[in-house]
C-alpha cells in the first residue's frame, strides 16, 4: 500500500510533532483533557509555518500536492501522535467549496486567513427543525439592494461564540418545487454584523462548545453569496463529501488504544478483572484492524480513480463505534473513580469524556442517516446484479 518514501514521510511527521508540539498540550490531548482555543491556534500556526496547514489544497493556494496516500498518512499520523485537531470548518469544509465555486475576490480574501489560522470559521447548517433533515431548513435571506437580509435561527453551531466568520445555508426561494432547491450559501461576518445573536447551548459536560445563532434582519453584502443563488444544496454535498478518506479516524483510535493499554498496564487490576479488560482491549484492537484494512482499501481504490462509495459510510459508522468503545473501556479500566467530575488528575473526567464521545455517532450525518443512505443506494437507486446462487423459488 505505502511506498518506502511514504513511511519515511510518516516518520518525519511523527518527529515533527514530537519536536514542535508543546509537551503538555500533547499530554492533555492524549488524556482527553481540555486544550484551549489559543493553544490550538499556536499549533495551527506551527503547521502553517511548515506549509502543512492545508496539504490537501491546490498548491497555488498553499497546498502541498501530496499523493492521497501521503495526505492520508499525514492526517492519521498527526492524530496518532496526539496533535490537537485543527478546526475543520475553514480548512476542510469551506475551502474546497470556495476554491471550486468562489469568486476570485472571495478566494483571495478568505483562503490565506484560513490557511494561517487568523480567521476562525463556523458552519451555519443545522436548525431546530433541520438536523439530520437539512433540506427542511427555514432561515430566510432576501436580497435588498446589494445586501442579503437574513432572518431565522441556526442551532448546534459549534464554536460560533469564538468564530470570526460563518458559512451559512439560507433559504432564498421558499417556493422552490423541492426543498433541496432554493437554498443558497452566504458568508457572514460574525464580529461586525448587527442582528446576529449567539447564545450558548450548554452540554452536560459543562462546556460551551455549541450555540444557537439568531438572525434578526442581519445584513451581509450581496458579494458574500457563494456561487450561484439557489444552488447552495449542491455545494453542501461538496462540504459533506470532504475528507472521507480519514473518516474512520484510525490514527485517533490507535492513540486511544495505546493510551488505554498503558493505563491498564500501570493499573492495579489483577485476576479476572485484568483478564476481562484485556479481552475487551484485544477485541477493539482486532476490530480496529479491520477498519484500517477497509480504510486502506478505500484509499487504494481512490488512488486508482474510484470515488469513495459505501465504504465511507461504513467507516463513519464503525469509526464512531470504535471511538465510543475505547473511551468506554478507559472508564471501565479505571473503575468508580472515573465517575468523578473535576480537573485534577488523569482519572477524573473520564466519564465526561466518554459522554462527549457519544456525539460522534450523531454529528456529521448520524449513524441512522448513514444507514439510510446506504440502504437507499443498495435497495433502490442502484440495482445490483445478484451474484448469489439462486434456488428454484427465486
Amino acid at each position: 500500500m505505502f511506498s518506502e518514501e511514504d513511511t519515511a514521510f510518516a516518520d518525519e511527521v511523527r518527529d515533527f510533532v514530537h519536536s514542535n508540539l508543546d509537551q503538555d498540550v500533547r499530554r492533555r490531548v492524549i488524556c482527553a483533557q481540555p486544550v484551549s482555543l489559543e493553544e490550538k491556534r499556536v499549533w495551527h500556526a506551527t503547521l502553517a509555518r511548515q506549509g502543512w496547514a492545508a496539504p490537501h489544497w491546490p498548491v497555488e493556494w498553499g497546498g502541498t500536492g501530496w499523493s492521497p496516500a501521503k495526505n492520508y498518512l499525514f492526517v492519521e499520523t498527526l492524530a496518532e501522535e496526539g496533535a490537537p485537531e485543527l478546526s475543520p470548518f475553514g480548512l476542510q469544509l469551506l475551502a474546497p467549496v470556495l476554491i471550486r465555486y468562489g469568486t476570485e475576490q472571495q478566494k483571495r480574501s478568505y483562503l490565506p486567513k484560513i490557511l494561517s489560522g487568523e480567521h476562525r470559521w463556523c458552519q451555519g447548517f443545522s436548525e431546530p427543525g433541520a438536523g439530520s433533515d437539512l433540506a427542511s431548513l427555514k432561515t430566510r435571506a432576501v436580497l435588498d439592494g446589494d445586501q442579503w437580509v437574513i432572518n431565522g435561527q441556526k442551532m448546534w453551531t459549534t464554536v460560533a461564540h469564538a468564530a470570526d466568520m460563518m458559512f451559512c445555508l439560507v433559504r432564498t426561494d421558499p417556493d422552490a418545487p423541492r426543498p433541496q432547491m432554493g437554498i443558497s450559501m452566504l458568508l457572514i461576518d460574525m464580529k461586525n454584523t448587527p442582528g446576529v445573536d449567539v447564545r450558548p447551548i450548554m452540554l452536560l459536560n459543562g462546556e460551551r462548545t455549541t450555540n444557537e445563532v439568531y438572525f434578526d434582519n442581519a445584513r451581509v453584502p450581496a458579494a458574500n453569496l457563494v456561487g450561484e443563488v439557489n444552488e447552495g444544496w449542491n455545494y453542501t454535498r461538496v462540504v459533506l463529501g470532504n475528507e472521507r478518506l480519514n473518516i474512520a479516524r484510525v490514527g485517533l483510535c490507535k492513540r486511544q488504544l495505546r493510551h488505554l493499554e498503558q493505563v491498564v498496564g500501570r493499573s492495579g487490576l489483577s485476576g479476572e478483572g485484568r483478564k476481562r479488560i484485556r479481552r475487551h482491549i484485544a477485541g477493539v484492537a482486532l476490530d480496529l484492524m479491520s477498519v484500517e484494512a477497509l480504510s486502506l482499501r478505500m484509499l487504494g481504490r481512490y488512488q486508482l480513480g474510484d470515488a469513495p462509495g459505501f465504504e465511507a459510510n461504513f467507516l463513519k459508522l464503525k469509526g464512531a463505534e470504535l471511538q465510543q468503545r475505547l473511551t468506554r473501556l478507559l472508564v471501565e479500566a479505571t473503575g468508580p473513580s472515573a465517575l468523578r467530575l473535576g480537573a485534577d488528575g488523569e482519572d477524573s473526567n473520564l466519564l465526561k469524556n466518554h459522554f462527549d464521545t457519544r456525539v460522534v455517532s450523531i454529528y456529521g450525518g448520524s449513524s441512522e442517516v448513514q444507514r439510510n443512505i446506504v440502504a437507499k443506494g443498495m435497495l433502490g437507486l442502484t440495482k445490483p446484479a445478484s451474484t448469489a446462487v439462486k434456488g428454484a423459488r427465486a
Binding site: 438536523g131 427542511s136 452540554l203 468523578r340 448520524s366
Partner: protein
C-alpha cells in the same frame, strides 16, 4: 416496581412522585446540581427536609422496620422515585446508613436526622481499607477508601476496620473528627461523593458501634440490600428515560414525519421497553426474596437482577442519547442526565463482574 396492594407503599410512592414531579420540577432540581458544581456543596435546605418529612429515615432505621419485610419494599419505592426524578439528594445513602445501624442492633447510635454514610467496602463486600489499633480507652484508625456516595454531605462515617487480631469493628465516626480528611466532589451524574482518609485518628470509645464476626451478617445483608436499592434507582431512571424517548419519537419531526414513524427507531424503542420490563420484574422478585435475608437463593436472584439492570441501563442510556440527537447531549434536557445516572449504576455494578460472581455461586460441576 413491586406488585403490591400495600397502602403505605402506594402512599409513599405518590408522595415522592408528587414531590419530585410537581413541587420541584426538573429545572429546580437541576439548579441544585449546578450550585453544587460551583463548590457550594449540597443545599440541604430545599428538598431534603421534605424527604425527611416523608419519613425516609424511619423507613430504614426503625427497629421494628428492620424486622418488617415491608420496609425494604418501602425503601425501594423511594430509590426508584429518586432515580426517575434524577434527584441528587443522598436519600439512598442516608437510608442505608440508618439501616446498617439498625441491622447492627444499634440504631440509637445515630441522632435523629443525622446523615450517616456507609463505607464503600461494606456496601460492595470488599476488604476494608481501614485498620484499627487498640489504645487506651479507644482505637487509633488509619486508612483510605474512595468514592463514598453521599460522602460529601455525611455527618457520620460508618466504617469497618479490623484490629490487629483481625476482628472486624464497626465505627460511627464523625466526619469532622480531627485526622479525618473527607474530600468532597461531584460525580458526572450530579450526585455528591467523597474520598475519605483517616490518618491515625484517635476515636472516642463511643464511636464503636459493634464488633466481632456477628457483623458479617449485617454486612452481607446491607450489601445485598444496597445493591438492589441501587438497582431500583436505575429502574426508575430507565423508566424516566424510556418515557422521555417515547415522547421524543412521538413529537419530534424529521423528513415530514414524527421520527417514531421510522421502523428502525420503533424497533429500538421496543427493545428499550423490553429490557426495562425484564429488569423491573427481576429486581422486584429479588427484592421480595431479599426480605428473607441474604441466603443463596436471594443472592442468585440478586445477581440476576444486577446483571440484567446493568445491561438494560447501558442499552437504555446509549439509546436515549442517540435517539435524542444533539438534544440528548445538552444540560437543560433530562436525556443526558439519565445517561449519566444509568452509566454510574452499571459501572458501580458491572454486569460481567456479577456474571462471574454468579458462575461461582452455581458451579457447573455440581450439576454434572
Amino acid at each position: 416496581m413491586i406488585d403490591t396492594q400495600d397502602d403505605v407503599r402506594r402512599m409513599l410512592a405518590d408522595g415522592v412522585d408528587r414531590l419530585l414531579e410537581r413541587e420541584y420540577g426538573f429545572e429546580q432540581r437541576d439548579a441544585m446540581r449546578k450550585a453544587m458544581a460551583t463548590g457550594q456543596g449540597l443545599d440541604k435546605s430545599v428538598l431534603w427536609p421534605r424527604l425527611e418529612e416523608l419519613g425516609i429515615f424511619m423507613l430504614a432505621a426503625d427497629k421494628d422496620a428492620v424486622q418488617d419485610p415491608a420496609s425494604l419494599g418501602h425503601m425501594s419505592v423511594v430509590a426508584e422515585a429518586m432515580g426517575r426524578g434524577l434527584a441528587i439528594e443522598p436519600a439512598l445513602p442516608a437510608m442505608l446508613g440508618a439501616r446498617l445501624a439498625a441491622l447492627a442492633g444499634t440504631a440509637g447510635v445515630l441522632a435523629d436526622g443525622q446523615l450517616a454514610v456507609v463505607a464503600p467496602s461494606i456496601l460492595h463486600g470488599r476488604e476494608s481499607g481501614f485498620g484499627a489499633e487498640a489504645m487506651d480507652g479507644g482505637w487509633r484508625l488509619s486508612g483510605q477508601e474512595d468514592v463514598w456516595l453521599g460522602g460529601d454531605a455525611a455527618q457520620i462515617l460508618l466504617l469497618s476496620a479490623r484490629d490487629m487480631q483481625g476482628v472486624p469493628h464497626l465505627f460511627a465516626m464523625p466526619a469532622d473528627q480531627p485526622g479525618v480528611t473527607c474530600t468532597p466532589y461531584q460525580l458526572f451524574d450530579g450526585r455528591g461523593a467523597a474520598n475519605v482518609a483517616l490518618n491515625s485518628v484517635e476515636t472516642n470509645p463511643a464511636y464503636l458501634v459493634a464488633q466481632g464476626e456477628a457483623l458479617a451478617d449485617a454486612f452481607e445483608r446491607i450489601e445485598l440490600e444496597a445493591s438492589l436499592l441501587n438497582a431500583c434507582d436505575a429502574v426508575g431512571a430507565m423508566r424516566g428515560a424510556n418515557a422521555l424517548t417515547l415522547e421524543q419519537l412521538q413529537t419530534r419531526h424529521q423528513f415530514g414525519r414524527p421520527i417514531g414513524a421510522f421502523q428502525a427507531l420503533q424497533h429500538r424503542m421496543v427493545d428499550m421497553s423490553l429490557v426495562l420490563e425484564l429488569a423491573d420484574a427481576l429486581v422486584a422478585q429479588a427484592m421480595v426474596a431479599a426480605c428473607n435475608g441474604p441466603d443463596a437463593g436471594g443472592w442468585r436472584l440478586a445477581c440476576g437482577a444486577l446483571v440484567r439492570t446493568a445491561l438494560s441501563s447501558r442499552q437504555i442510556a446509549e439509546e436515549t442519547v442517540q435517539m435524542h440527537g444533539g438534544m440528548g447531549l445538552t444540560e437543560e434536557y433530562p436525556a443526558a442526565h439519565y445517561f449519566a445516572r444509568l452509566t454510574s449504576f452499571e459501572l458501580l455494578y458491572p454486569a460481567e463482574e456479577w456474571t462471574e460472581r454468579f458462575a461461582r455461586l452455581a458451579p457447573l460441576d455440581k450439576a454434572a
